[in-house]
């Protein structure tokens, strides 16, 4: 009887081990496949350039939307951010432009990293030149980052295109809405064409969060105020 139980236990352990090995193996194969697909997409110097340019475009968009989500800052700073993970102070439009510009200058050259596992590499021109303009639309320009060349021969190379993206996001208008809604005496009950306003309050009633949603673009500007 005892021998039979021992045998059952051994069988159970063996089965569990096989299961774990299968899961690990499956995960590894999946990872390899994904990496292979990524590389497989970049089969030419043109593919490499397009991938870098797409990355620049995504970075611009991501940074712009992060700027809105974090109340004028692209990156979160835990020392100045509220329980809603956004800023307490309303920056000027110029300060926001500056923050986005600085962030892009720091981050956009990371787009060369996507070529790491490919036969190509990005040769940077130097510090990326970025201009940001917030008016009726947000226009962001990133000068050519440099050239992409094949690692084993400098003869195969292409210049990364200067990227200019325009977003239908009116930051000065959103800024004015935030200024209006955060009235010193309270939250202004107002509606604005093309925008949705959401107000949230922290469970302790110590902070209030304002979200200005631009309906057309999906851009959200968030800001916190201490109650």
């Amino acid at each position: 009887m005892a021998t039979a139980k021992k045998g059952q236990f051994t069988l159970f352990v063996a089965f569990a081990l096989v299961l774990v090995v299968l899961i690990v193996l499956g995960y590894y194969i999946l990872q390899q496949k994904n990496a292979g697909e990524e590389i497989a997409k970049i089969e030419s110097i043109a593919d490499a350039r397009q991938a870098v340019e797409a990355c620049i475009t995504d970075t611009i968009e991501d940074n712009l939307y992060a700027l809105g989500y974090n109340g004028g800052y692209v990156n979160k700073n835990s020392y100045t951010f509220s329980s809603f993970n956004t800023s307490y102070e309303l920056l000027t439009v110029e300060e926001m432009q500056h923050n986005l510009k600085s962030s892009l200058e720091r981050n956009v050259d990371n787009c060369g990293d996507i070529l790491e596992a490919t036969p190509y590499e990005l040769i940077l021109n130097g510090r990326p030149a970025v201009t940001v303009s917030f008016a009726d639309t947000a226009i962001i320009n990133v000068d050519s980052l440099g050239i992409i060349q094949q690692r084993d021969t400098a003869e195969i190379r292409e210049t990364v295109t200067e990227m200019e993206k325009e977003f239908q996001v009116n930051i000065p208008q959103i800024h004015a809405i935030v200024e209006q809604i955060f009235d010193p005496e309270g939250i202004l009950i107002e509606s604005y064409d093309g925008y949705a306003i959401n107000i949230f309050v922290s469970p302790e009633y110590s902070e209030e969060l304002l979200e200005v949603h631009h309906e057309e673009s999906g851009f959200v500007f968030r800001m916190t105020r201490i109650v």
Binding site: D183, E185, G186, I187, L188, I189, E190, S191, Y192, Y195, A196, I197, N198, I199, F200, V201, S202, P203, E204, Y205, E208, E211, H213, E215, G218, V220, V227
Partner: protein
Amino acid sequence: MILTLSVSQSAEPPTSDGFNEGAEEVTAEEEQKTIDWSLYQNPEEGAEGEFLLTDDANGIAQVTPDQTICDAVGDCTIGFGTQNMEVQNGLVTGGLFTANAEASLLKVHNTLFDVYFDMSEGDTVEVADTSPRGTELDYFLNKLTEGIKALIQYDTGATQEFQASSNNSLYFIYKNETHFAITEGILTYTDENLTQVLEAGEENTQVEATKTGIKKGILYKNKTFSQKADLLNITIKNTENEEYVICTEASPDCQATLIDNVLVTNGKVTVLQDGLPLYETLDASAVVEMDFNTKILQANILKPNREEYLLLYVGHYQVIEGKGKMLLNPVKEEHASIVNTYISILNDRTILFNEGTVSYNTFKAFTPGSAGEDSCIAYRGEGNGYC
């Protein structure tokens, strides 16, 4: 004996309200005999000190607190001392009474009501319907010391109670049955469906009341009127006006009316629900209609002359109606969620309150932990959009 009940000179009847119009003072000097207690001694063995008045008993009597006095309908009192208890047809109708520690309820009859006084040791009550000069008044005067309750019970079972809040409290019962006046005390009407409370200070506060409730009353500054019924539990506080007339039935000179669960207020006033502010008007020209049936509040400021006109509290939010704008503030203390729609005529806004959400067109504010916030977060979890 000449009937000369002592009536305080300060207990002048109100004359400027119209309640007293047509009242005619009639000289009522008449000789009164002294009650001979030996005629009314309870003959039963062991009932010494108990006296049974019969309906032929009329006159003035001196009573010591150890005497038990039973009136002609069998209601008995004990624990009161008086030099001038008036008896008419075997019923106690007036006098200056002082209670001791064993005092029972004191019943005093007038031509309209039996009034019961709930008194503690040392309390005094003075009941009269003639002036010190012997002139008949058009009201019954009850002068009470602090803490005494005077109770009237209507034949419907409803009650009216006046509780004295000082040693100079006055409770006038006019001889037309529906008019009262109170000074320094609280008048409470209660029946099975309704409780109303009117507060009076030093001013002579006039009240119209019937067996169905308080119909009209004057609120002096910082005084309140409360009404508790099925749909509402409100208190109206006169915060600014010298006098503020509240009515529970239509009348031309009312500044606030509360009829069929619809409250209309004019001018500066604070309205509380369940003891917490519902709204507060800050402008003298504010007109607010609060319909407790539909939960719609409509406000208009006829001649705005301030920066802020009205404060409304719903759930965890305060709404400020101001000059050209309306503001919202979260408040930790939860107020009644009585209002579901706030219509501002002046600012041309209709603000909705539902499930902890305040909304105006595409503006929405969410109460933490509310159903509105939950549904918003769930919705955004699906689409990352706005609520």
